[in-house]
């Protein structure tokens, strides 16, 4: 049993009542990591010394000066830069890289009084759906260690599911927060594109990337998004839109909510258990007073192809900065500058990253640009219009997060196309730029399943209200993996 079974509210009550101190919470995180991480393999770097020091100082701060997240431990995905704490994007090419500033979200965590305990494993440069593409370790699913945690924010979800930390940050380019949240039975939100500053997030596909919160319940997720959201002078794509006080809007009331269910989301390729759990969830939502109607997002089946062209094209440009000159790994024994670039990059990047850089370079090169890149951008317009149209008449769209439960480690690693198909239900959301959450909605053979709730641009509030009402009516989020017992 751990303190991290408690919600943020209960943790703050415990602090107020003197049952434990902030230092105890920090120690608990490091003790859990020591006990469990040999199995889960979530953390790449730990911030033990500074976190311990910070916690002791924070225990001196008067209660009336503390916010709802003050003193609570958090893990940060390793593509978010942290000053003085190694940041590698789980790539060999950034081995030993020590950032000299904090990402805006990390600055905001500090302002909220959260304690960063360490950096979380991922698929290299966020390219992958299983965490098997990390250059350092393969994170495991806490519900069954033979299965993957999903990806690319696999360790962000696994560390929360394992109760190593109660909060984490991930990033989502095509499903990288939601799919692992579904696989690990936790709550993961991809905010509207522009809602959270990307300053200090190592760019993969700049028009799709968003940072978002992963937690064990909806209320805590809403608190954390509120803490990290907002316009930022350092990110010209961050939107100047007011950030609501999400948590205060959660009352469990969704009477009259208009829910759309796209038939494409319950069609071919989606496994029967997943369909069943989503249909049951819709019954729960109906029971709470929502209306449910079937709609169509006719261009859904083109999203995967458009996504791989666009995200790889953007990646091929973004990852050109890794050249061995200014930071990270540098190849040795080369004759000239061209060889330095080529050797550094071919020794420093893993196969999946190389594959996508080449696909992107190819898509953008003379002779193929119109047929691939421009065609994909036009497809993106059609996909976005599908969503705009549905949202004229509905408040949220509901479906599964992933077509199956977590697959086995090693099962898809040699087959890029099968691996990519995991993201078929999450990718269109990034192309449309709308927000979406994954929350636990069932189990298949002891592995969690996720319900995806998609909202209008900048309407995370309605998503949270819907998710909270569902969570109050069910108990999936209260269940914990076997490995919690006795540790």
């Amino acid at each position: 049993m751990t303190l991290f079974k408690l919600s943020s509210k209960e943790l703050q009550e415990g602090l107020h009542n003197g049952e434990f101190k902030i230092a105890d919470l920090t120690n608990e995180a490091f003790a859990r990591i020591e006990n469990l991480d040999n199995d889960v393999q979530a953390f790449l770097a730990l911030n033990k010394e500074k976190a311990t020091e910070q916690a002791a100082q924070m225990d001196q701060v008067p209660f009336e000066e503390r916010g709802p997240l003050f003193g609570l431990p958090i893990g940060v995905k390793d593509n978010i830069v942290t000053e003085g704490l190694e940041t590698t994007c789980a790539s060999k090419i950034l081995e030993g890289f020590m950032p000299i500033y904090d990402a805006t979200v990390v600055k905001k965590l500090r302002e909220a009084g959260m304690v960063t305990v360490g950096k979380l494993n991922m698929d290299e440069f966020a390219m992958g759906s299983s965490n098997e593409n990390s250059a350092y370790k393969t994170t495991k699913n806490p519900w069954n260690l033979e299965h993957v945690p999903g990806g690319s924010s696999g360790a962000s979800a696994a560390s929360v599911a394992a109760g190593e930390v109660p909060f984490s940050l991930g990033s989502d380019t095509g499903g990288s927060i939601r799919q692992p949240a579904a696989y690990c039975g936790v709550v993961g939100m991809k905010p509207t594109y522009g809602r959270v500053s990307r300053f200090g997030l190592v760019a993969f596909a700049s028009s799709l990337d968003q940072i978002g919160p992963i937690t064990r319940n909806v209320y805590d997720n809403a608190l954390l998004l509120e803490a990290i959201a907002g316009v930022d002078a350092n990110d010209s794509t961050s939107a100047d839109v007011p950030v609501p006080n999400y948590a205060s809007k959660l009352n469990g009331d969704i009477k009259g909510l208009r829910i759309a269910v796209p038939k494409e989301y319950l069609g071919e390729g989606v496994n029967e258990e997943v369909k069943k759990s989503v249909l049951q969830a819709l019954e729960v939502l109906k029971g709470l007073g929502a209306t449910v109607e079937e709609v169509s997002l006719p261009h859904s089946k083109y999203a995967l192809a458009a996504y791989y062209i666009l995200s790889s094209s953007e990646a091929s440009s973004n990852l050109s900065r890794f050249d061995g000159i200014r930071y990270g790994f540098r190849a040795e024994g080369v004759k000239n500058l061209m060889e330095l670039y080529k050797e550094t990059r071919s020794q420093g990047f893993g196969d999946e990253v190389k594959r996508r850089i080449m696909l992107g370079t190819y898509s953008l090169s003379a002779g193929t640009y119109d047929a691939y890149y421009k065609k994909a951008q036009q497809t993106r317009t059609l996909i976005k219009q599908d969503y705009d149209k549905v949202f004229e008449n509905y408040d949220v769209i509901v479906g599964p997060t992933a077509p199956t439960a977590a697959f086995k480690v090693g099962q898809n690693i040699d087959d890029p196309m099968t691996m990519y198909a995991n993201d078929i239900l999450t990718i269109p959301i990034n192309l449309a730029g709308v927000p979406a959450i994954s929350i636990p909605c069932g189990f298949e053979n002891g592995l969690p399943l996720g319900l995806q709730i998609i909202g209008k641009h900048f309407d995370e509030e309605t998503i949270y209200r819907t998710a909270y009402a569902y969570e109050q009516a069910t108990d999936f989020h209260t269940q914990t993996p076997q490995l919690w017992e006795g540790k």
């Binding site: 594109y193 995967l304 192809a305 000159i325 540098r330 850089i357 696909l359 036009q378």
Partner: protein, 97 residues
Amino acid sequence: MAKLSKEEVKHVAHLARLAITDEEAEKFADQLGKITDFAQTLNELDTTNVEPTSHVLPIVNVMREDVAQKGLDRDAMMQNVKEQVDGQVKVPPILED
């Protein structure tokens, strides 16, 4: 058109500044060919007169006052540079010797 030749893969690898062996070129030709084959499905769509979307939000120029601001500390920036001489980044010769 979809199947990439080994030579095309090598050319793309050069553009992307990646060293590549014959064996790798063959493997990537096969894998990239499958992906580009799949990308052909987009040709089913009529996109005549459809504007391309590069960015979902209607953000145009973001301006600020033209006031000098302090940048990052130079010495701190040099901390991650592997090879340096007198505060300069050292690289191998650009031309073959």
